[in-house]
Amino acid sequence: MIETHTEFRRRARAWLEANVPQEPAPRDGPAAREFVLRWQRRQAEGGWAGVSWPKEAGGQGRSVSEQIIWFEECARARAPSPLGPGFVGLNHAGPTINACGSAAQKALHLPRILEGDVLWCQGFSEPGSGSDLASIRTRGRVDGDTLVIDGQKLWSSYADIADWQEMLVRTDPEARNGAALSWVIVPMDAPGVTVRPIRTMAASSTFCEVFYDSVRVPLSSIVGGLNNGWATAMSTLSFERGTATLALLIETVARVGDLLADCPASRPAMRTTLATLRAEGQAILASTYRFALDSEHATPDASGSMIRLAFAEFAQRVTAAAIDLYGIDAPEVLGAHGWGHEYLHAFSETIAGGTAEIQRNIIAERVLGLPKEPR
């Protein structure tokens, strides 16, 4: 018998009510790793991991609509935030391997991501190479059937607690564009990998710097082909910018509702601000549902950048409004899970995963079809 969306939602809600962890998620370090893997394992055991991932990858093989319902119910149940140590594996590395990986790569990695065995981190940015990814200098030299990696990556979130890293390296020293890069899977315990956590102003150590000193990985670790890394990375960037934002967006809109509920009628200006934010969140959500459903059977288009941009700036406004609502010394603002940390962390929203300026360029050039600015 085919389950209707209503039945699916009811079943998801009941399971989440019984299984969502009650304790807050640790912010960083080994405790954060254990927490997120435990939560992922519980979802896998309950048959909820990777709702829209294919069955052969260990997922549930369900529709994007059902994935959306799952995210909505997670937000309603205040399940652990999707923007944690599990984000890269579930929303970037996993989908990229699914789209471009070999059968062996898929069989090795995808089930382990969903089953909560491993964490992934991303090694794209470098000192001096953030928005301009094509200028990457970390080198991968082919030596027989291995790739030898030397260089440095920056802003690799949770690299200190990850098992695997998705990396962009320069495998053609001559080419000056994206054709010089390869997308590689690197085990974080490989000899020659050194990780240094960086303290952020939001009081966490989630950002890391990673150094590679003659790190050797088999050539079979390259995903999507040698010197095809740019196309491989781009294959899921639209996904990341659009659909992967969905879970975060649903959660954030739900939290704006909580803020409104806490805002007394004696503060009409604050209520106006929050109600306007709620409308803004619903508007972005409506666009995101459209994008996610359109992406179900077709390659996502560049309009994912509109969603990424709108969500990033929305999240910043929400955190600022929350502090204005409660005051900078309120319990809701202070503490490890307070809005104050969220406010400081939200500065990264318009930087990570393609800056707001890059998103605006993409919208202008690829959605509106405007001529490119000289670069």
Binding site: I198, M201, A202, F207, D329, V333, G340, L344, F347, A352
Partner: protein, 307 residues
């Protein structure tokens, strides 16, 4: 109207510059509470500049110029309340640092863990409370200043201040001057950064999208500064409320833009931008925030309508 600094003002600011030049950037490896600059505090106290508004031939404008200049630096020190507020409400010279709090006198106040006196604005009057450090509990803060609260007023020497309008006016001038200085200090760090950092083969500062927003940040810093100085000069209730509220209203956009163009580096403790970001975020909500200042400015201009 003259906008050039007098010789006396220029020499005071030169002397402040000299104090700042000798200071190393604060080592800041633990997030959240940035280190208080005891060295700068001692140099300022020794210089007598914190009492400049009490001197013949000087006034609030000179104090505001100094507070604004100090806030441009990455060093955190209590100066606004000492130099701008204290002389107007009868606090004796040298009794400092001064902490200020509105409403509940046992609520959290900036600088209280180091303060000798706490001034509490209770609405229709104020209290100057001599602080016993043993009675101060540190308060968790995310925004750089060491905050603290008194356990109670029991047994502490307290003096009543009736002229609460003057307290509030000077407090607003101090907030406006401090915000203006923080804006200018953070902006100057970023201007150097976007000249030096390259992307797509040219300096970040050569991209128009970045130029335009830094130009707007410059306009915010510049207009906040002149409005603060005007309020310090006129010592008028409405001007002071407007200056504080205007500056507060510009903080969010400016902070986001400056962080945006410093990239991920700007989010770390290894880059000093947070030393201004923290302070600016704390000042956004001081005295009720921009909305409260706007209402106070309107009430000062149209007192009948306010009733």
């Amino acid at each position: 109207m003259k906008f050039a600094l007098t010789d006396d003002q220029a020499s005071v600011l030169n002397e402040v510059e000299r104090m700042l030049d000798g200071l190393a950037l604060p080592a800041h490896t633990e997030p959240v509470v940035a280190p208080y600059s005891d060295t700068l505090d001692a140099a300022l106290a020794g210089s007598g500049f914190l009492d400049i508004a009490r001197e013949d031939g000087f006034g609030t404008l000179d104090a505001a110029l100094m507070v604004e200049r100090l806030a441009r630096s990455p060093h955190i020190v209590e100066a606004g309340a000492s130099a701008i507020v204290a002389p107007a409400i009868g606090l004796e010279a040298g009794l400092r640092p001064v902490a200020l709090v509105a409403g509940d006198p046992t609520g959290p106040a900036r600088f209280l863990p180091r303060a000798q006196v706490l001034v509490a604005d209770l609405g229709d009057h104020a209290l100057a409370i001599e602080v016993d450090p043993a009675r101060v509990q540190p308060v968790d803060s995310l925004f750089a200043y060491g905050y603290g609260r008194l356990d109670s007023l029991d047994g502490l020497p307290v003096r009543r201040i009736d002229d609460v309008a003057t307290l509030r006016r000077r407090w607003r001038v101090a907030v406006a001057a401090e915000i203006a200085g923080c804006m200018a200090g953070a902006l100057s760090l970023l201007v150097e950064h976007v000249k030096a950092r390259h992307a797509f083969g040219r300096p970040l500062g050569a991209f128009q999208s970045i130029q335009h927003r830094l130009a707007m940040a410059a306009e915010s810093a510049e207009s906040s500064r002149w409005l603060a100085l005007r309020a310090a000069w006129s010592d008028d209730d409405g001007d002071a409320a407007q200056a504080a509220g205007f500056a507060q209203s510009r903080i969010h956009a400016l902070s986001y833009d400056l962080h945006q163009f410093s990239g991920a580096m700007g989010l770390t403790l290894e880059y000093p931008l947070h030393l201004w970001t923290y302070r600016l975020r704390a000042l956004v909500g001081e005295l009720g925030g921009a909305g409260a200042q706007a209402r106070a400015a309107a009430a000062a201009a149209w007192p009948d309508a306010a009733e």
